[in-house]
């Protein structure tokens, strides 16, 4: 199970498999077992850049608050903060970029001292696309997603590879073919002097490829050769051709013979004491590639480009998929000191050290009122749609609600506002009066976007305090389990109710009203 702290909708790109999400900007952490944490905040889409900048400066201290409370041996992936869209009015206004850089710089520094933290450079993904491909405003406005859900597959593949790289599970050994792979042409046909390396195209493309492979080997990747040739011919070329970069000494082992390549790779694995699953096989000949895929499925076999001019792309892909190593991005740390001073002033204003301060910083204002003809349609909509924070999941229609009201029930609605704006009406609570002196909570549902900020408790207490019926002594409540509302199965306990009955059909609760008035 991976747990994701986030401030926008990410379900569209990260998916739901093995992942649970926090509420928006909710830094309470879950009690269940987590294999890894993810911090993936995005820059909110907001017109007021001064306020936004202040908000961004609060993220790092929010993160630290979270970090202090969770076990430090569990991997924690941190996405860098990248502005996907800017409402910049003046070119000189760089406040948001500075705030993002500041967050990234702080995180990178933090990561050097805390080894379970792995920085995921989100820009590496966004750089592949045009801005309009990443942010699709239609999806943003209907689901609050900043990253186009159509990129989900690519994103998940990319992130999975990052996870592998960050966990150090990279491949160890490259098995390289020679003819038409490390140079153009074939020794056996074109002769030792006839192969194409260096000089004009395509020799220059193979030259660059060899230089890149040499750099790759400097990061610890083992290079080996596997070629169908006469060994003496190849060794002579490796020694004498002046245009080669890779020489015999760069290869840890080689198999130059006319045997089948699957057997050769097996024997390379034995010689180097490596598992076959740490091998990547690179060969221009599709039938050799197919043979290895069939015979040695543990070995990775990327598709070699048909045109030599595509070798740089192939090399990047090869590196990214199999040999990516984890290291912090430094590009974000090299901004000027003058900007940094401004940023630190802003950050100081956004500091806080505990959860209560955090809540206060959100500046939450709730508006609780009785439902009327204007709000009933919205209450109906929520009754129909709310799945998670819904204690009884009664799918009332508007007519149902009118009937309930006519029978003397009260329906209260909750609207929430914080410093980032108005979430609108996000919850409702229905109180019925089944017998004298007893009030019953027939339904309670809230949008999950506001959870985790204790708003749900405030709402319940406020409503019970306000009940106009003065003779109420007892409040009863119920929880009805569905496949989706497990999150609230202990909600009434946490609000101080006593369990009266607990069956597979749900739970019944009771509480003396005067207890609530003490809050």
């Amino acid at each position: 199970m991976q747990y994701v702290f986030r401030n926008t909708t990410l379900e569209g790109i990260l998916g739901m498999n093995g992942i649970r999400y926090s509420g928006y900007d909710d830094i309470t952490f879950p009690s269940y077992a987590v294999d890894s944490y993810v911090w993936f905040y995005q820059v909110p889409i907001q017109a007021n850049r001064a306020e936004l900048s202040l908000e961004l400066h609060s993220y790092f201290s929010k993160f630290q608050l979270v970090y202090r409370q969770i076990p430090q041996e569990i991997p924690f992936f941190i996405f860098t903060l990248i502005p996907l869209f800017s409402f910049k009015v003046q070119d000189s206004d760089t406040a948001i970029e500075i705030a993002c850089n500041e967050f990234n710089k702080n995180m990178i520094e933090f990561a050097t001292a805390h080894t379970n933290i792995k920085i995921v450079d989100f820009r590496e993904f966004t750089n592949r696309y045009k801005q309009s491909e990443i942010l699709d405003w239609k999806y943003y406005f209907i689901s609050n997603m900043q990253v186009n859900p159509k990129l989900a597959k690519d994103f998940q593949e990319w992130f999975a590879q990052k996870g592998e790289a960050l966990a150090g599970r990279r491949k160890k050994c490259l098995v390289l073919d020679l003819d038409n792979t490390l140079w153009g042409g074939i020794i056996g046909e074109d002769g030792m002097q006839g192969i194409q390396i260096g000089g004009d195209y395509p020799g220059n493309a193979f030259s660059l490829f060899q230089k890149q492979l040499l750099e790759l080997s400097k990061t610890g990747v083992i290079l080996t050769l596997c070629s169908k040739n006469n060994e003496s011919d190849v060794l002579e070329v490796l020694e004498k051709n002046p245009f080669l970069t890779l020489r015999q000494e760069h290869f840890a082992a080689y198999r130059i013979n006319w045997e089948n390549k699957a057997e050769n790779i097996k024997s390379l694995a034995q010689e180097l004491h490596l598992g076959l699953d740490s091998f990547v096989f690179v060969d221009d000949n599709p039938s050799e590639c197919e043979l290895i895929k069939q015979m040695l499925p543990e070995v990775s076999v990327p598709e070699f480009p048909a045109q030599p001019y595509l070798l740089p792309v192939f090399f990047m892909e090869l590196t990214r998929r199999y040999f990516a190593t984890y290291s912090s991005t430094r590009e974000d740390t090299t901004r000027t000191a003058q900007y940094r001073a401004n940023a630190e002033r802003n950050a100081a204003q956004a500091q806080f050290t505990n959860f209560e301060d955090y809540l206060k910083s959100l500046d939450i204002r709730t508006d609780i009122r009785e439902a009327d003809a204007f709000s009933l349609p919205r209450v109906t909509q929520m009754a129909q749609k709310t799945n998670q924070f819904n204690l009884t999941t009664k799918r009332y229609s508007e007519t149902d609600l009118q009937n309930i009201l006519a029978q003397g029930a009260h329906i209260y609605t909750l609207s929430v506002q914080d410093k980032f704006g108005d979430s609108g009406m996000t919850g409702a609570l229905i109180i019925t009066f089944p017998m004298p002196k007893v009030a019953h909570i027939d339904a309670l549902f809230l949008s999950c976007r506001i959870l985790g900020k204790k708003i749900e408790h405030t709402f319940l207490q406020e409503v019970l305090k306000r009940l106009p019926e003065s003779d109420i002594q007892t409040v009863t409540a119920e929880y009805r389990p569905t496949t989706r509302n497990e999150v609230v199965k202990d909600f009434y306990e946490s609000a101080g109710f006593a369990v009266v009955s607990d069956t597979s059909n749900g739970k019944e609760y009771q509480m003396e009203l005067k207890k609530i008035k003490l809050f």
Binding site: E11, K150, K385, N387
Partner: protein
Amino acid sequence: MKAKLLDLFKRILETTAIDEAVSQANCEKWNSIRHLNLIVEIETEFDISFEPEEMAKMRDFATVLKLVEGKRI
């Protein structure tokens, strides 16, 4: 078209136990995130684009089919 769309529904809703009568009301797996996935997949698969107003109406298979057919003409 109808069969192709139903296959897509089965794939995205991760169930084979549905037919043309499937709707948000009778299919528990049709939650909000899979709803979005459905829209994304249909837009991609049929190379069409829905307006938010249309997305809101897509609560059952028949309506979705009608919308898709209307855009393919």
